[in-house]
Symmetry: D2
Subunit: 226 residues, 4 copies
Amino acid sequence: MKLTYPAILLNFKSYKEAAGNRGLELAKTAERVASQTGVIVAVCPSIVEMAKFVQNVSIPVLSQHCDPYEPGPFTGAVVAEHLKEIGVAGSLLNHSEKRLKLSDISAAITRLRGVGLDTVVCADDLAAAAGAAALEPSAVAVEPPELIGSGISVSTAKPEVVAGAVKTVKAVKPNVHVICGAGVSSAEDVRKAVALGSEGVLLSSAYVKSRNPEQLLLELCKALLV
Amino acid sequence: MKLTYPAILLNFKSYKEAAGNRGLELAKTAERVASQTGVIVAVCPSIVEMAKFVQNVSIPVLSQHCDPYEPGPFTGAVVAEHLKEIGVAGSLLNHSEKRLKLSDISAAITRLRGVGLDTVVCADDLAAAAGAAALEPSAVAVEPPELIGSGISVSTAKPEVVAGAVKTVKAVKPNVHVICGAGVSSAEDVRKAVALGSEGVLLSSAYVKSRNPEQLLLELCKALLV
Amino acid sequence: MKLTYPAILLNFKSYKEAAGNRGLELAKTAERVASQTGVIVAVCPSIVEMAKFVQNVSIPVLSQHCDPYEPGPFTGAVVAEHLKEIGVAGSLLNHSEKRLKLSDISAAITRLRGVGLDTVVCADDLAAAAGAAALEPSAVAVEPPELIGSGISVSTAKPEVVAGAVKTVKAVKPNVHVICGAGVSSAEDVRKAVALGSEGVLLSSAYVKSRNPEQLLLELCKALLV
Amino acid sequence: MKLTYPAILLNFKSYKEAAGNRGLELAKTAERVASQTGVIVAVCPSIVEMAKFVQNVSIPVLSQHCDPYEPGPFTGAVVAEHLKEIGVAGSLLNHSEKRLKLSDISAAITRLRGVGLDTVVCADDLAAAAGAAALEPSAVAVEPPELIGSGISVSTAKPEVVAGAVKTVKAVKPNVHVICGAGVSSAEDVRKAVALGSEGVLLSSAYVKSRNPEQLLLELCKALLV
C-alpha cells in the first residue's frame, strides 16, 4: 500500500503504551480516523510486531528502520525484500534515535525503491535535509532532535527550519516530499506546518501517550485538510 | 517459555527461505520434530515477524537481537520488556553478524534477565567466550565466524575451540551453558559437539536451506539424545 | 595552509610503509615534488603522528578523519579545533574505511568550516556524492570501494562514475570541488581523471608502496598539469 | 616503557586545556612530579599529538584508544604496531566515551599484547569489569560513567564498586591490575581508592583543568604512596 501526501505518520517507537494489544488498538484507531476523514495516516509499529500489524490494519504500515542488506546471512537485520513480502509500505530511515551512515541510507533507499517501497529519511537540520534529499527518497522528514518529545512543535519553535527544509529539499530534488516532526501535538501545530509548506507531520509520544488518541488524531487530520 | 539445555537453536537470520510462510513452515516443522523427539528446539525468526511466530508455534522463540534500552523513545529498537510481552523466550546477543559493544551486551543481559528471559551470547573465540561468560548470560554460543555458513562444522574443524569454550566458560561461571555453532549440518557434527561438552548447537543455513529440513532436524535431534 | 585545486591527495592510511620515519620520508618526498612542479600535493598521515608531520613539512597536512565533537570530554576523538591548533589544513571525512553517519558528516563539516579548515568528503557512488555535496564540503572525493587498492583506476574502469560525480556534485553545489580516487597509480590514470572533469586525485597504496615514490609522484604531477 | 602499578593515569581526552603546548606543559609537569615522588604517572594525550608527546616526555604515554586492525588499508585508524613504533607504552580501551564491541576489545588486546604494549580496559560496572578481566588485559579501570567529570569520586560515592571490581577482577584473572576512576580529584579520593584495593587511579578534568596541576598531582602521588 503506497503512501501518498499529505500524510500523518505515527511513530510508535519502543513505547510500552504502543506494545502488544495497546499498540494494535492505537493502529486500529488510526485506521478508523483515516477512513472517517479521508486523510492518509500511516503507522510505524515496533519492528518486532510488524507482520502482525500488517495483518490487522488496512492503513499503510511503515518500518521504523531498514538495513542496507539483501536477504541472506544477516542476523538481527531488517531487509527490504522481507518488508515487501509481509506487506509493509516502506520505512523510516535515519531517525535521530537510529542514525545511519550516509552509505547505508543510500543503499537502503536503493533496495527499498527497488522493491517498490516508500522511504522517509529523517534529518536533523537543513544541511542534513539537503543531503538526504540528494539521495532521492520518497520523502524527507525534518526533525530538530532537541524538540522531539518536548511538546513544543517544530512548526512553532523553528518555523524557519520547516520552511527552509521545504525550500532546500525541493531545490535539490523537486519530487521529494517534505514533512516535519518533533513536538507536534495539536491541530494548530499541523496547521502551521502546512502553512510553511510541509506535506504532513510525523508524531509519536503525543499520539501514543494521549488520553484520547482518537479525538487528537481527528483534530490533526481535520487540520491537515484545511 | 523457558529454554533448557541441551537444545538446538535454529537461527533464521534474514534468509529469504525463512521469510513469510516459508519461515512459519520451517518453525512448524521444528515444533513437530521437537514434539516427536522430546528434544528442546528453539527458533530465531526474523525480528519483523517475531510476534506472528510466537502466536503460531509452541516451541521457544528467541529474538535474533536485543537492544539495551528500556521501553521508551527508541525508534527501530528491540527491547526486553516488549519481547516478554509478546511471548518471546529470550534473545541471541552479539552474533558475529550483529556485534555489540561490551557495555550493551552487559546492559541487555541485565534487562532481559530482569524480565525473566533467556540470553545466549555469541562469541568468536575463547577470549570472547570468557568475556561473555563473565557477564552471566544463560548460555554462551561459541562460533568461529570463518566457519559460519561453510558447511564445515566447528566440532570437526576446531574441536579445541568447543572443548576450550566449555572449560573456559565453566571456569568463569559454572552455571552458564555452552553451545557451539558454525558449519553444523549433520548428525555427526552434533555428536562431536556433544562429545566435546557442548550442551547443544546453533545452526542456520543448513536447516533453512535444507531440501528436507524435517529429516535433517530429526537426525540432529536424535544425535543430541545419544 | 589552505588546499586549492587541482590537487593530489596522498592518503597514508595505516600502512606500515608510511609509519614513523618512513612516513616522514614519504611526506618530504611529496613536499619536494610539489615544490619542483608547482602542483598542490597534500598528505594524510596516520592520525597518531599528525602533529609531528605538520612540524616537519610545509605542504598541507590533512587528517584522515574528524569527529563531530567540540573540544571537551571525548576520549579518543579527533576534533576540529585541535586540528586547527596544531596546523592541520583540513580533514578527509567518510572514507569507505571510516564511514560516518550522515549527521556526523554534517556536524564535522560545520565544525571544520567554522575554524577555517578544508573538508573532503568521500563518496562511494553518485547518490552518495550528491548527498555529500549537499552538505557543502570543500570537496567530494568519489571512490568506488571495490577499486580501492586494486591497481585498476576509477578513471579507466568507471569513467562514467567520475564524469557523473562531476556533473552531479556541480548540479547540487557548483562551488564544491570534485576529485576521484580508487586504483589511481599512473600518469595515464591522472590524465583520464582530469579529462573527465576531476580536479585532482586521491591515492594511497600506489604511492605508499611504490619502489620509487618520487618518480611516480613526479609523473602524476606532470599529468595533472597538462 | 612498561607501565607498573600502582600508577596514576592522566587522560587528556579532547580538552582544549590539554591541546598543543598546554598539553605538553601538563605532560612535563606530570614527568616532573613522577620523578620527584617516584610514583608511576602516565599520560594519555590527544591521539593527534601522540608522537610529539612521546618525543618530549620520558614518562609512559598511553593512547586513548586503539583499533583492532593490523597495519594496512585502514583510514583514520590507530593500530598497535604503529603505537609501538612511535614509542607509546600501551592504550586505554573501551573508555565510556569511546565504547568498543566485545570482539574489538578482545582483538585489540591480542594485537597490543603481541607487540608488548599495555592494555587498560575501562568498564562501567562490576559485570563489565568481569567481562573485561576475562579478556586478560594488563589492567581494568572501573569507572561509573555518571560520576565522570562530576567532582564526586567513585571511591567516596560508590566504594562498593571499587572494592567489588577488585574482588571480581582478581577472581576472574588474579594477574590483572585494577584501578578506578570517575570524579577523582583529591588526595583523599586516592587514599580511599587505595584502601579499597585499587592499584591506582585514572583521572582527567581534575588535572587538566586544575589551576595548579603540579600541586594537585604532588598531593595525589603522595596519597598513593601512603
